[in-house]
Symmetry: C2
Subunit: 308 residues, 2 copies
């Protein structure tokens, strides 16, 4: 069994509403479609790692409707260890309401629910953690309680404060961010990109269909001698729903990383896993196992035998 | 046992989101609170009639999540007969997403779900029906299949067409509408209020906190000799959430009506039942039984012994 990955962050339910036109204040509009999907960044990443055959546990707050909706069963069927979940009996799961109109405009309302209790939680000591957005104070404590830290600041970054963010960054070994997030990390932490590269040995900046860039420090005698920059192409497929693509990328990267693949191959595997998720609506509806991923990998990248 | 009341219309789930500020297109906002409540006009009315001790059945389309959410159990516990529900296996329950900001502005998205199949349904023959908004074509057929018709055009009135609306009105014995709805009924049906009064022997126009007005035809030799207009005061209480107040009013009115009370007393009982529902969030969370209703009735109206 490879290294266990502990994933922290949100476990939530996504409500995807399709409307012709958004309704303004004191108005109503019919919803043409309304679908409920299991989501939340941490749960998405954990489910995808488990599908790829990784050893994964989810450290996340859940509410009273977690079992009622049989979300627990689904994650257990994927193979995610749920023994370290925080159960908050007087709260519901966090929920995202995503309203999309005919011109692809999106409005999102996010309810923290049980996840609002994260800041009060004392994180367990773990070996390898991947922190998916969520509360900055919890993540600061978590980053100090783990031997190896992977961090995806994600959509909650707008709520982050300088001090806990810098605590997290000082402990981070791999940083994932999209173009907007990396700018916001620099702004809140008051760090230049050079300073970030000096602090963190692996930085992956994702750019949707334009692929991703890996910044990898070359270490000699315990010191960074230079940073190698590598562009990784996206694996383009017919996309139905981009939601969850980023989570799938990180799941692919990390599963490969703990298997010992080079960061470049990890990024490529991330792109491949991500390409599956966008083919279907929902973040956990089209997750590949290692074999399906390997087959598609061979089509898009130099033929390479990805051993299980 | 008194006359059975068959209630048709929506059975749905209400998601009440509280936000500081509404989010525009391509923006997101946190939801401060998010509550899920059982609702839908028909289910609200049926639940309230059952609580008051009335004999009631619900004729409404429900989806696969009806039992999953244990909504069936709740209605059965109230005492609602569910044997005539339409079960639509490939649809979910209809859902209302109601977003309220700090200035009490409200935006609503309504997903018809299983209720979109209503137009295709063939209504059963019934003795006494109360039709709560929903599809105009189904309601037109239903109004012809019932001996006695009570009609609440409600929020779906904006989707109504002239011909089915006139079929409904020709068969209607009691019409309930608020000030805006009565105007819209007249506009779509192309009828004056005088014409409506000539067609329908009992019309109740509700005005929120300003009470309601009863228009009751006096019949002699099978003909309307005059219309008596009576104002009924609202029973004012500390209101937490006005949602469901209208449904509760009709439930109170109809339960009393089939017991043989005069239309004026029926309106007063409607006001009393309505006052309970606004005291708590949710449409089915604070329904009174006949005794609790009678006690409050005695406080607000001329002392009158409301026999069970």
């Amino acid at each position: 069994m490879s290294q266990r990955i502990s994933v922290t962050g949100h476990t939530s339910v996504d409500y995807l509403l399709t409307v012709e036109t958004m309704a303004g204040p004191n108005a109503s509009a019919p919803a043409l479609d309304c679908q409920e999907y299991f989501g939340g960044g941490a749960a998405n990443v954990a489910a995808a790692i488990a599908c790829l055959g990784g050893d994964v546990e989810l450290i996340s707050p859940v509410g009273k409707d977690f079992a009622q909706k049989e979300y627990d069963k689904e994650l257990q069927e994927f193979g995610v260890d749920l023994s370290k979940l925080y159960f908050i009996p007087d709260r519901s799961l966090s929920k995202a309401f995503i309203i999309t109109d005919a011109h692809s405009n999106q409005t999102t309302y996010f309810y923290w629910g049980a996840a609002a209790k994260l800041a009060e939680m004392e994180p367990p000591r773990v070996s390898f953690v991947h922190m998916v957005t969520a509360d900055c104070f919890f993540n600061a404590k978590m980053s100090q309680a783990a031997d190896f830290v992977s961090f995806d600041p994600g959509q909650d970054l707008i709520t982050y404060q300088k001090e806990p963010l810098n605590t997290i960054l000082e402990n981070t070994d791999i940083l994932f961010a999209n173009r907007h997030e990396i700018e916001l990390v620099m702004k809140i932490a008051e760090k230049t990109f050079e300073e970030l590269k000096n602090m963190i040995d692996l930085i992956v900046v994702t750019r949707d269909k334009e692929g991703s860039t890996l910044y990898e420090n070359e270490i000699a005698d315990g010191k960074c001698v230079k940073t190698i920059e590598t562009d990784i192409k996206a694996v383009l497929v017919e996309s139905v729903d981009p939601t969850g693509a980023g989570d799938a990328y990180k799941a692919g990267f990390l599963t490969a990383f703990v298997k010992g693949y080079s960061p470049k191959i990890c990024c490529q595997i991330g792109s491949v896993v991500s390409s599956f998720v966008v083919e279907k609506v929902g973040c956990q509806t089209n997750l590949p196992d290692w074999n399906r991923m390997s087959e598609r990998y061979a089509v898009h990248f130099d033929i390479f035998d990805l051993n299980d």
